[in-house]
């Protein structure tokens, strides 16, 4: 159904989809400032959801060999090696961001790991981010799906029904984040030719469990919960980081007024979104759909009028 506001703007997606009295919207807050790039989320996701192997290839792109989010990769950890001295995750207020934060002398006796001299430290620092389907408030994939295979769950998430999808691929082109994809292999895998992506572990949620990736994350970089609560936590976290002088910290996808109505899975990033392969200001394509249909309507009428005029006064 097209409601007054439901192609754009802040809405509660489950209520907008017609659920009466749905549970609180669920989502992820992925805090990349504590991600250690262990890929536990990638593995847990594959195991729980029985996602077949992705192409394994040494890509030469840091530690990222899983390439991208696609039908066979529902969590993807991005690795970015940034020039600059190791240890610095971000800058001091008023300082260049790439400078390391000086270690704080706690006055403790030296013990544990040996002190590494500065010259021996790597000359780069890491940005790591575990990416996933954003479960958009206005999900282009869902809007354009002609079979109703993609649907909004009571938790406000977006899920593919494998047995209904006919593999038209429209959702693939519509997603502004390049998440969903038609499965192409390997031979013998289930659901080849069918669109696949993260379900936010719908089967676990209905059982009151946390999604597999959030469960496996050892640093709580991936936090799962009610979107309202996560947004509050994210605001606090970004404020705390700014206070520590990490001025590059920013939230991505948390704003319900943004181009997709805010995402259910949103992020704390330490650099511009495009550095992580995310679109900087994505907009759901169906925001412009009424306009597109209007223009097409005018063109169609013009075509009909043109045909009529061509025959005018020319009775054979």
């Amino acid at each position: 159904m097209i409601g007054r506001n439901s192609l754009f703007g802040p809405v509660d997606p489950a209520a907008d989809a017609g659920y009466a009295d749905p549970p609180a919207r669920k989502g992820f807050f992925t805090d990349t400032s504590v991600c250690i790039g262990c890929k536990a989320c990638e593995v847990a996701c594959k195991e729980w959801n029985d996602v077949p192997e992705n192409l394994f290839e040494m890509l030469g792109t840091s530690y990222d060999n899983s390439h991208s989010l696609n039908a066979n990769q529902w969590r993807h950890v991005a690795f970015i090696e940034r020039p600059g001295p190791a240890g610095g995750t971000a800058g001091q207020p008023g300082q260049q961001a790439d400078l390391p934060r000086p270690a704080v002398d706690l006055g403790m006796p030296e013990m544990g790991a040996p002190v590494v001299p500065d010259e021996a430290k790597p000359d780069f620092r890491w940005l790591m981010e575990s990416d996933v389907c954003k479960h958009c408030t206005h999900a282009a994939c869902l809007d354009v799906c002609p079979t109703g295979s993609l649907f909004r769950t009571e938790f406000g998430t977006v899920v593919v029904q494998d047995d209904i999808c006919n593999g038209c691929g429209y959702c693939v082109a519509a997603c502004p984040f390049g998440v969903i994809d038609r499965r192409r292999g390997p031979d013998g895998a289930e659901n080849i030719g069918i669109a696949q992506k993260c379900t936010l572990c719908y089967d676990r949620l209905t059982d009151g469990q946390r999604p597999a990736c959030a469960n496996a994350c050892p640093t709580e970089s991936i936090q799962y919960g009610d979107v309202d609560e996560l947004r509050r936590r994210a605001d606090e976290r970004v404020a705390a980081l700014h206070e520590q002088g990490i001025m590059d910290a920013r939230l991505y996808g948390n704003d319900p007024n943004d181009g997709v109505g805010g995402t259910g899975a949103f992020f704390l990033l330490l650099d511009e979104p495009e550095v992580y392969g995310l679109p900087p200001d994505p907009v759901v394509t169906t925001k412009d759909l009424p306009r597109m249909f209007n223009r097409a309507g005018v063109a169609a009428l013009a075509m009909l009028a043109g045909a009529a005029v061509s025959f005018l006064g020319r009775r054979a």
Binding site: I2, E57, C145, S149, A173, A195, G277, L304, R314
Partner: protein
């Protein structure tokens, strides 16, 4: 917010092909490291192609990306869909010409147009089904009517239009049957079909324009940069192209004495297509670039030449059967090039992160991110 000094890597050599299943380069070779990347491919012939950019010359933008990888995914569609854009347009325009020919007493034009209508439709459905990941589930499209999905809307438009076009075609065939058959055992059926031809053809003509126009919405309603940014003018390009192609077919198949309206329609369609295409490129900004590069660029250039030549032929050579046939064929070829060109440009724009990142980044840097404004604060 302080920005790190210079993290803007303008990547060149590290652009990677998507390494997903069954990509053509899938071979697991680590030596593919310096991949063909979108920009790499362009550099090979960069000089020439940049000349081709002509009046929409855009300076090379600096932008950051994740190892040069695409941000949005290209539609996983084969050339079936590009071909369908063409056959659907021929079908729609032909249905209109057939109705006009029927009403104004031009049996030869009507016959060719009815054949064009049903032939175009048959091919279209074949292309559409073939392109599905699960063709056997084609009918799942009929589960729902979804106004937010142009593909669903299009399916229902075709479902509405198809039977009437089919009936008009059946009537045409009935009229072509030899006299003994028409009067024989099947006479009642043949007679009924003949009588239904005109009303069915009329309905098929009136339901045809959406068949031609919706395909523009189908492409524009995606995150594919060069399709979405074309949404203002693409319906006019496609409708003009459909008119030109269907009229071209009629010019090829109809004696010149009856093809007058087809020639007029051809000229009108060609002019609309060429003008709308020009306007479209102007309003697309950076996203028009893929229309000038590589295969898409060659197709779009060919399309303009063929369409213009065909229109001139239709305008001045109407008396000559030979000129009509050649002009009609040129118009059809021009339309085919337009459809494939637009299709290819869109796919190329999705594969290159530039077309996703740069416009959005520029919007942000101007301080104009897309944000929802409640109705009472609009336009301020």
């Amino acid at each position: 917010m302080s920005k790190p000094p210079d993290n803007r890597v303008v990547d060149t050599s590290t652009r990677q092909q998507p390494a997903e299943w069954s990509e053509p380069t899938h071979g697991g070779s680590p030596s593919r490291r310096a991949g063909r990347g979108a920009r790499g491919g362009r550099d090979a012939r960069g000089q020439r192609r940049r000349e081709g950019v002509g009046d929409v010359m855009v300076p090379d933008a600096e932008f950051t990306s994740y190892y040069g990888r695409q941000v949005v995914k290209p539609a996983p569609w084969e050339h079936d869909i590009a071909a369908y854009l063409f056959t659907g347009g021929v079908a729609a325009g032909s249905a209109m010409l057939a109705a006009g020919a029927d009403l104004t007493g031009r049996p030869a034009l009507r016959r060719v147009a009815r054949f064009g209508s049903i032939g175009g439709l048959g091919l279209s459905v074949g292309f559409l089904v073939h392109d599905l990941g699960r063709p056997s589930r084609f009918l799942n499209m009929m589960r729902v009517v979804k106004l937010t999905s142009p593909m669903s809307v299009g399916t229902w438009i075709l479902t509405l239009h198809g039977p009437f076009a089919g009936l008009a075609f059946a009537a045409e065939v009935a009229d072509m049957l030899p006299e003994p058959v028409r009067r024989g055992r099947w006479a009642p059926l043949v007679g009924l079909l003949s009588r239904l031809g005109t009303p069915a053809g009329l309905v098929s003509g009136l339901t045809a324009p959406p068949v031609a126009a919706y395909t523009a919405v189908l492409l524009s309603d995606t995150a594919t940069p060069s399709w979405h940014s074309a949404h203002e003018e693409l319906p006019f390009v496609f409708c003009g192209s459909a008119a030109a192609a269907s009229a071209g077919l009629a010019m090829v198949g109809t004696p010149t004495s009856q093809a007058g309206p087809a020639r007029t329609y051809a000229v009108g369609g060609a002019v609309v297509e060429l003008l709308a295409e020009r306007k479209m490129e102007q309003s697309m900004g950076l996203m028009a670039e893929p229309l000038h590069q590589g295969i898409a660029g060659r197709l779009m250039r060919a399309s303009k030449v063929l369409t213009a030549a065909g229109a001139v032929g239709a305008l001045v050579g109407g008396r000559s059967r030979a000129v009509s046939v050649v002009s009609g064929a040129a118009l059809m070829a021009g339309s085919l090039c337009t459809r494939f060109g637009v299709f290819e440009a869109g796919i190329a724009s999705a594969k290159d992160p530039k077309y996703t990142v740069v416009p959005q980044r520029e919007r942000l840097d101007r301080g104009e991110p897309v944000r929802y404004a409640p109705p009472d604060r609009r336009g301020q």
